[in-house]
């Protein structure tokens, strides 16, 4: 038995055990037996997330200690981001978003089909992909990253959306835990964005739970407090330095036309749309008005509450 077979067997056995002993018995009691297969997939999602978190701590924490981009007196500021990461990677927030978006997705898809339209998949357009699932995955990854880039630009361009996205940018001690630090309403909008996109191009992320680990880990690395530029690969993959510049006060977050480095995985989009900045400087992270004392909250609920307050101001007065 190879190491990968051993790991896979261990994972499959754990997933089956957790599902059959903990999750499956709950389903009839909750009236959710119809969703048994989805619950099984959710168990996998949570376990993959747990595995991912172990990897993050095991690899990125030592990296942050060895080659930090910034020196901090302590790591207290990063603690709240741990909550966001656990909620996202163990599947709680994705589950809520899925439940909220489910009726919209399936009603819309069903309605389209009742009117004779079957949404296209990439494989319909490029039949060669029907035989190459890994290639299909990377094709979807590139397309999703392209739309992530534009979503991210809107998050900065639209004042009301920036009001929510500010939660993500208000971290002054940005670490590998910070990727999932987002406002819940921002999560919902992002989910809606990708749900509609999935209807257009036939994405089924559930098909790629294991493969999705790779981009998610890269996104965590992009936020890590690590002084790493990826050398010649800097223009191919978003490095911690490149993304830190996007989070920098006066360089990325809220600097209007100077905002840059919106790409999530591949800087090619920034290069194509003239928003790339491969500067070597390492600015402090955060939002400029934090320097004037604006409070974005230090706890989870406070951050959520203040995000809503800023949203209200943006809608009512045009300024977050």
């Amino acid at each position: 038995m190879t190491i990968s077979e051993f790991l896979l067997n261990g994972f499959v056995t754990t997933q089956a055990w957790v599902f059959e002993h903990w999750i499956n018995p709950l389903l009839p009691r909750l009236g959710l037996l119809s969703y048994q297969e989805e619950a099984f997939d959710a168990t996998e999602f949570a376990l993959v997330g747990l595995f991912e978190i172990i990897l993050l701590v095991g690899i990125f924490r030592p990296l942050e200690a060895l080659i930090p981009a910034e020196d901090w007196p302590d790591r207290r500021g990063t603690r709240v981001d741990v909550i966001y990461t656990l909620l996202h990677r163990l599947g709680f927030i994705p589950l809520v978003m899925f439940v909220l978006m489910w009726p919209l997705t399936f009603k819309l898809d069903g309605w389209l089909r009742m009117h004779g339209f079957i949404p296209y998949t990439l494989e319909d357009i490029f039949p060669v992909l029907q035989y190459h699932p890994i290639l299909t995955f990377f094709a979807y990854l590139v397309i999703l990253d392209f739309f992530s880039y534009w979503l991210h630009r809107f998050q900065h361009r639209l004042e009301w959306w920036w009001a929510l996205h500010g939660v993500h940018h208000s971290q002054r001690t940005m670490s590998y835990w910070s990727d999932d630090r987002t406002h819940l309403l921002d999560d919902l909008l992002t989910t809606a964005w990708f749900t509609l996109l999935s209807l257009l191009i036939g994405v089924e992320p559930g098909q790629f739970i294991f493969l999705m680990m790779i981009p998610r880990i890269l996104q965590s690395l992009a936020h890590a407090n690590v002084n790493w530029r990826f050398g010649p690969f800097e223009v191919i993959l978003v490095s911690p330095h490149y993304h830190r510049f996007h989070h920098g006060i006066g360089t990325g977050s809220d600097s209007g036309s100077l905002s840059c480095n919106f790409a999530v995985l591949f800087p090619i989009w920034d290069i194509c749309f003239h928003t790339a900045n491969f500067s070597r400087s390492t600015p402090p992270t955060g939002i400029a008005d934090q320097l004037q004392g604006r409070d974005y909250g230090s706890g989870f609920w406070k951050q959520q509450q203040l995000g809503l307050k800023r949203l209200w101001c943006a809608i009512r007065y045009g300024k977050a």
């Binding site: 009839p28 037996l33 048994q36 997939d41």
Partner: protein, 319 residues
């Protein structure tokens, strides 16, 4: 020299014969979009290849010339050589095919779209869509009346059984059947429908002529799907949450036997000689082979993620 040549010829003839007799078991790994092929004689995996997104169920064309795999998320049907499992061709733009079935008169091809609450009726000759029904919610499994005039569909999300009249192309009736119904099958005598009611851990027996439940047969936890034993009398039913398989005597409408099969027993296939039951173990990426003379699992074979449909050419009668 002649002796050596004869021995070599015999050896290669034996190899060719073995190859010719190797029977392939085809398993759909719905969670990773692949097909696993297994050598039925040696119980060893042969290979695994990508077929499309979410292949759940499969069935033969009425003339057995091909095996159809329904890729729900890819919106297509893939036609395989039923003997080897090789892909012959694909039929695109079939909306969300989850569960599929041909009417006994070979006139209709019915597709349940579980995800999107649709039941589609196609002309079985050219797969031309005749009618699309909106049936809430979660149309899961299906069975036909012996005269092909009706198709019966379990509605997993709304705890119902629906009857669609294929002559008038209209829903004839919908009755409550119990919490989370899944598999449905006609008894070999054509008198009743058996429905696996997962949430009640039972098999509901329905007189489809009067749309009445006439009996509840307690089974194992998560009573799910059926497969005839092939003797015209007994039917296997998998209890997916209880990790058991039971045998129903359709004459007495009782369960005669229950034996363990680990890991979420789902779809099944019975060997032509009635000695082996092959079961997909949904939660543990395995196939179990049960020796039906001892009711013991004698082989477990690794396959892919979330194995669902299973087929081999020389199977027992579907009656």
């Amino acid at each position: 020299m002649r002796l050596i040549l004869t021995a070599l010829m015999m050896f290669f003839s034996w190899l060719l014969l073995a190859e010719a007799h190797a029977e392939v078991v085809i398993v759909l790994n719905s969670g990773e979009g692949t097909i696993s092929r297994i050598d039925k004689n040696t119980f060893r995996p042969i290979d695994k290849f990508y077929v499309g997104r979410e292949p759940h169920h499969l069935m033969s064309l009425p003339d057995n010339s091909a095996l159809i795999v329904a890729n729900a998320v890819s919106n297509n049907l893939v036609f395989l050589d039923p003997r080897t499992g090789d892909i012959k061709h694909r039929l695109e733009r079939i909306s969300d095919p989850y569960q599929i079935g041909f009417s006994p008169d070979k006139r209709w091809f019915v597709v349940n779209s579980l995800r999107l609450d649709r039941v589609d009726v196609y002309d079985a000759r050219d797969f031309h869509l005749i009618k699309r029904f909106e049936l809430s919610s979660m149309p899961s499994h299906l069975a036909f009346s012996p005269d092909s005039s009706h198709v019966y569909v379990t509605l997993q999300g709304s705890d119902q059984l629906a009857s669609i009249d294929l002559n008038s192309m209209a829903v004839q009736w919908t009755i409550p059947i119990g919490k989370t119904p899944a598999g449905v099958i006609l008894t070999p005598d054509g008198q009743h429908l058996l429905i696996g009611v997962m949430g009640l851990n039972e098999v509901a027996v329905v007189d489809y002529k009067t749309a009445q439940i006439i009996k509840h047969i307690p089974a194992g936890k998560g009573t799910h799907n059926f497969m005839p034993e092939g003797d015209g009398r007994h039917i296997f039913v998998g209890n997916r949450s209880g990790d058991t398989v039971s045998i129903i005597d359709t004459k007495t409408l009782t369960i005669t036997k229950t034996f363990p099969v680990a890991g979420g027993p789902d779809d099944m296939e019975v060997s032509a000689d009635g000695k082996q039951l092959w079961v997909t173990n949904r939660w543990i990426r395995q196939i179990s082979v049960v020796d039906l003379t001892t009711d013991q699992v004698v082989h477990t074979i690794p396959v892919g993620k979330s194995p669902h449909g299973i087929f081999f050419e020389h199977h027992a009668s579907r009656q």
